[in-house]
């Protein structure tokens, strides 16, 4: 399946209280730290059901953008609308309903260190739906942990007993605890080995397809961009300078975009993707012949 060629315009099968095509809309965002301007006049739309990759050099404010969208950072100017609610003028108690409809995976997992993995997953359930019985809540926590690709034994472990990759998976399980429509991921594959990173990419893609998620994904990982992102937003010069599929972005001649995708690492990821596509094409051509691992 070629993710990059045709960004799917998802028509939700299930009726939804918010029927907008854009779960996230950012208009004229301005963020300032001291006298350092991070964003100025930043606009961004995220389509329903897509995986949007957000890239940009270090310090261009990718994480700040995410924190602004989820209401952790109050912008100096501009408007952020999430799932039909305007976050930028919502007060804490007013946007609680929205909070139950998104999940956030922070860079280090941000698991509560005194709770086990399953108890971490139970925290949002307990907070938002206290009427759910202990039995059901434990069951939910268990299957979420398994859905996130952790072994069943991990449920009773503490975060300090987990490896970096397992912490991210546990964080993902907690982000998915309330079956959110929106998933925010801050550098999900940073710090993972290539095999773990590829597996995490596939996990995100699978979950996104199964659960019908809209994913806002900050990443530096070019393989992730090629492998799972429907569209990519590039942040530079304090705003989003381009949004589109990777071929569309490559057609632009912005120096940073060219350097990013056509630098040595960008080329390598591009070649890997080409090999990958070739293998897939062969597989779909001659039925169930065993895949050639090198794709030669």
């Amino acid at each position: 399946m070629d993710q990059t060629a045709a960004p799917p315009e998802i028509v939700p099968d299930l009726p939804d209280p918010f029927d907008g095509k854009y779960p996230i809309r950012v208009r004229g965002l301005r963020n300032v730290f001291g006298d350092h301007v991070i964003h100025d006049g930043l606009d961004l739309d995220v389509r329903r059901g897509e995986i949007l990759g957000v890239v940009g050099g270090s310090g261009t404010g990718k994480s700040v953008l995410m924190r602004t969208i989820i209401g952790l950072q109050i912008p100096e100017a501009g408007e952020v609308e999430v799932l039909g609610d305007t976050i930028t003028d919502a007060r804490d108690d007013a946007d609680i309903d929205i909070r139950s409809r998104w999940g956030v995976l922070f860079q280090g997992g941000a698991l509560f260190s005194t709770l086990t993995v399953a108890e971490n997953v139970e925290v949002p359930l307990r907070e938002f739906y206290p009427e759910i019985s202990d039995d059901l809540r434990h069951e939910i926590a268990r299957y979420k942990v398994l859905l996130s690709g952790l072994p069943a034994e991990a449920t009773s472990k503490f975060p300090s007993e987990l490896s970096g990759g397992m912490k991210k998976r546990a964080g993902l399980a907690r982000a998915l605890a309330l079956d959110p429509e929106l998933l925010f991921l801050d550098e999900p594959t940073a710090g993972l080995d290539p095999i773990g990173a590829a597996a995490f990419d596939q996990l995100i893609l699978k979950l996104q397809q199964t659960l019908d998620l809209t994913v806002f994904l900050i990443t530096h990982d070019l393989d992730t961009l090629y492998e799972i992102c429907d569209r990519v937003a590039v942040i530079a010069d304090k705003k989003v300078i381009a949004v589109g599929t990777i071929p569309e972005l490559l057609a632009l001649d912005h120096p940073w975009i060219q350097e990013y995708f056509n630098g040595p690492r960008g080329r390598a990821a591009q070649d890997a993707q080409a090999r990958h596509d070739a293998v897939r094409a062969t597989l779909s051509d001659d039925g169930r012949s065993s895949p050639d691992p090198d794709g030669a």
């Binding site: 009726p15 059901l136 398994l146 009773s156």
Partner: protein, 396 residues
């Protein structure tokens, strides 16, 4: 057709008793158990949304169903998420029932969930039954006490070795850190220790005077205040205050540095944490304790003199002159000898507990508490030994 209703008749329920939901209405899952005419098969028919927000109240009634059914009908379901899919999957597994009327979306979810069924693996951390847990805990505590003693002695040994190597290479000594810690431990606590000692001096003089008045020996209030503060209370109270202020701070600082791997980073750069972190703190406390102890005794005497001049008719400066006559000099030495030892204990407890922190943030709190308790307890026990010791060598 025979109907047996388990579900609620109204799908909309007021949610006033749930937090965040006061005054709001939420659509809830509804279901009913329908028996076919022959009575051979029965169907559990769901309607409404089956999501995390709607299933909570229906779940208990679903679990209570004891009748068997062979089909689960999802035709009436408007919305489903993984919690709904889990519920359907669990029912079909437990009752060996077929799922019918399932939309493609729902089928996808149920398939995904069925692969994530984990045979009831525990959600909590491993926990033994009570009758095993209590003896185990008692054993742990006893062993921990013994091991802790050994480790503290070992830690003290490390400090002595590091100090010795610092004496040989004085250039490695961190003067700035020492001065900084002296400020934190000593200078910054002057106000609170001064106030405390002044007030205790007043209390001793006042209470002493009340008792001594019965023998007409009020003038001995001077002896009482002078000897008590210089010999015992000045240093002891200071040690307790420093344990609460600085010992706890040492444990929390070092513990947090352990958690964030700063201590490990130091080691890899070639900076010995003993020299950079522990020695300056211990040295600063040992230097400041005698000064603070003497300062505390001094203010205690001032407090006593102040009260005496007000209520006993002993003029302020007469009180101070009497102090010189009735307090033997060795009382000052007793206090000043104990002070650095108490300082060592307080700083040692703080640094030792701080360096033992691992795993999580909760441990920092536990270790900080342990540091203060250990310091105060040891100081008081040692003070008793000192009292006997000094009396026996003739400094009574």
């Amino acid at each position: 057709m025979q109907f047996q209703r388990y579900g609620s008749c109204v799908a909309l329920v007021a949610l006033d008793d749930l937090p965040h939901e006061a005054g709001k209405m939420r659509e809830l899952t509804d279901f009913q158990l329908v028996q076919s005419e022959g009575g051979s098969t029965s169907t559990l028919a769901f309607s409404g949304p089956m999501t995390v927000s709607s299933l909570g109240l229906a779940d208990a009634r679903l679990r209570a169903i004891s009748d068997s059914f062979s089909e689960i009908d999802l035709t009436g379901v408007t919305r489903m998420d993984t919690v709904g899919a889990w519920t359907v999957w669990r029912l079909s597994r437990d009752h060996d029932a077929r799922i019918i009327g399932c939309s493609d979306e729902a089928q996808k979810l149920v398939d995904a969930i069925s692969k994530a069924d984990s045979n009831d693996h525990s959600v909590r951390a491993m926990r033994l039954p009570l009758f095993q847990r209590v003896p185990e805990h008692v054993g742990d505590v006893m062993l921990g006490l013994g091991r802790g003693m050994l480790q503290v002695v070992g830690f003290l040994g490390q400090i002595i070795l590091s100090s010795a190597s610092l004496l040989r290479h004085p250039s490695r000594f961190r003067g700035k850190a020492l001065v900084h810690q002296m400020e934190l431990v000593g200078v910054n606590s002057l106000a609170i220790i001064g106030l405390m000692s002044f007030l205790v001096g007043i209390v001793i003089a006042q209470q002493g005077a009340v008792q001594l008045r019965q023998f007409g020996a009020e003038i001995y209030t001077v002896n009482l205040v002078g000897r008590l503060t210089l010999r015992e209370l000045g240093v002891l109270m200071t040690a307790i205050m420093v344990a609460g202020r600085s010992g706890s701070a040492f444990a929390a600082q070092l513990g947090t540095m352990k958690l964030t791997e700063e201590v490990d980073a130091m080691r890899t750069i070639g900076v010995a944490p003993m020299e950079a972190l522990v020695i300056p703190r211990i040295a600063a406390t040992m230097i400041m304790m005698p000064l603070l102890g003497f300062y505390s005794a001094f203010l205690g005497i001032i407090g006593g003199a102040f009260l005496s001049s007000l209520t006993l008719g002993i003029p302020f400066f007469t009180f101070l002159t009497r102090i010189q006559e009735v307090v033997p000099l060795h009382d000052v030495w007793v206090g000043l000898t104990k002070a650095p030892v108490f300082g060592l204990i307080v700083a040692l407890a703080g640094c030792y507990q701080g360096m033992q922190v691992k795993n999580n943030a909760e441990e920092v709190g536990a270790r900080t508490t342990a540091a203060v308790v250990m310091a105060i307890f040891t100081v008081i026990v040692l003070d008793a030994f000192f009292a006997v010791f000094f009396t026996n060598i003739g400094w009574g």
